[in-house]
Symmetry: C2
Subunit: 348 residues, 2 copies
């Protein structure tokens, strides 16, 4: 039996703890509710109890290598504290890593606790065991209420200077576009998230020109991106147009990211990513128009421009060049759990 | 005397060769014309003659570690050939690296020849000895006819999967914007390059509402970004507005890049970058509005949104966080020469 580590997904609703072997086999997974109302001490105690039960159960099978904890928030990697978390009230300025290490009674240099942002561990999970298995350089964009982003370079999470890399959701796509909660106008998450689908549907309903959407919204108290997708599947033209628009903006976002990073693969996660057939055609249209790697492989493209300062982009030969692969996530909500277990064993 | 390497800047007009010590001291620089009309064999022979003269001159001072060659074009890093170069006709499919190694008679495993894109070595040069000295993670954007881009992560050039990383100039800033030579609409280089300045000036002249620009254009056969800057320095409002617009778009571009990579520093190069006073105010306005790192440090910003999927962006504490530094390049056209010398000695 190989050595193992613990992955923790500390979400605002669920607290999940998994023991995973170093070759990616799940030993056991525990799912608890996150009782944030009882305060961080209580939550961390429940987490550590579960970790200790798992490590005791599997200690005779292999060596315990450490624990990784994925958290939705801004993490100070040096102090192991949360600078801010939207979904974990009371955790700001709580010494999460130190408290976990103290309760587990880790001997020095034996095993370790690593805190990570949830989007980053989701990317690492997909890279380790999911859609990007074996792909060294990749990123995940999780299309939910907002857009979560994580970048993996050479098999490791890319943090940037203070852990705020991968904020794909707040890249400007329309300089004079919709106001975002961050204060900016035209952020990607106002155009290419699940919320954006709902927003577009509400806007279409408001014009009075989309009776099918209006009917669905009035009869469904949980009207949202899924409802719009169901209508699109039934051939409703308003719903289909919304996903085409979503796909176009997603394509503009990805094209920019590909021009910057030239990654091997982009993995799309979040519930709305499964509506692939409804948005992928326009997404790829934009990628062919706006990404040099895709443009160079398009059948009829005028990419013959000679850019004096940096004509990396002007290769007819690159028609045969590899394109960045865009694909759907495979691990769903387990991506972060596996990624957290992986983060615990990667070199710091 | 420390060991040394050779840096080569193989441009369409000039061929420059420098011997540089491993601690960044220039030993000697040779500037030749690039006689592309005589074919690649002739150009490579002249280059190798100069390299051999320099290595012979300094071989008693220190060990010769290798040669790096910066080239404006798409380079196949594996074969050491140019897939395409706008400024070096006849060099496509010519085995540049192999021919240099053959002429220099390099013994195996003794010294080596590295080919690099010119924008990438410019970034590495600024990181090694220029504006970003000692800064591990940075990028350069060279604002010229187009926008050249190079990214350095952990002190090494980031190539991406096929060497096409750092194509900042073709990131879409305006989805329905001006047509670019690459076939896309709204590319950054149509809004934030030296050409964009000239384009905006011509457009203002065409409206008939900018007589000062019209007069300058009619009296100056080389009317361009510099002419517009000179007018701006004299207080001409049309010229000043053009630089304000340029700064806004440059800020939008940089804000997006900062949200993705969270780099320590962006270095702006190219002639137009020196017009800092004319464009920096609006550039920083956009950075504060559109980059999370800048927004978090702005005095009054509404960045209190809680993003369910990835609230890395929601830290009031990050008001004190470090911002990505934006600064002007220091080495001018020597950046690529030094960077090429550096590329020769970095681990492959």
């Amino acid at each position: 039996m190989p050595d193992f580590s613990i992955g923790v997904d500390l979400g605002g609703t669920n607290l999940r703890i998994a023991a995973v072997t170093s070759d990616g086999q799940l030993l056991e997974k525990v799912t608890l509710g996150t009782k944030t109302a009882l305060g961080p001490n209580h939550v961390i105690t429940e987490m550590c109890d579960a970790i200790q039960r798992l490590t005791a159960t599997y200690q005779h099978s292999g060596k315990f290598l450490g624990a990784g904890v994925g958290i939705p928030g801004i993490i100070d990697l040096h102090t192991g504290m949360l600078r801010k978390s939207a979904n974990l009230p009371g955790f700001e300025e709580y010494p999460v890593r130190d408290e976990i290490e103290r309760r587990l009674g880790f001997p020095k240099n034996a095993a370790r606790v690593v805190l990570e942002n949830d989007a980053n561990v989701a990317a690492l999970g997909e890279q380790w065991l999911g859609a990007a298995r074996g792909v060294p350089n990749m990123a995940v964009a999780t299309l939910g209420t907002g857009i979560g982003g994580g970048i993996v370079l050479d098999g490791k999470i890319w943090h940037g200077m203070n852990g705020m890399a991968g904020e794909f959701g707040h890249i400007t796509l329309e300089p004079n576009g919709h106001l975002c909660g961050c204060g900016n106008h035209g952020c990607a998450e106002k155009y290419a998230s699940a919320s954006a689908i709902t927003f577009m549907a509400r806007a279409a309903i408001a014009t009075g020109a989309a009776p099918s959407l209006a009917q669905a919204a009035s009869s469904d108290p949980e009207f949202g991106a899924r409802s719009v997708y169901n209508l699109a599947l039934q051939g409703d033209e308003h719903a289909r147009q919304i996903f085409r628009t979503f796909g176009s903006y997603l394509g503009i976002l990805l094209a920019g990211l590909i021009n910057v990073l030239n990654l091997d693969m982009f993995v799309l996660g979040g519930g709305v990513s499964s509506a692939w057939d409804a948005y992928a055609p326009t997404m790829f249209d934009e990628l062919r128009a706006r990404s040099l790697v895709y443009a160079a492989t398009a059948p009829a493209n005028p990419l013959m421009k000679m850019n004096d300062s940096s004509p990396k982009d002007s290769a007819p030969e690159s028609r045969t060049a590899r394109k960045t692969i865009i694909t759907q996530a495979l691990l769903g909500s387990d991506a972060g759990l596996y990624g957290a277990a992986r983060a615990a064993v990667l070199p710091g």
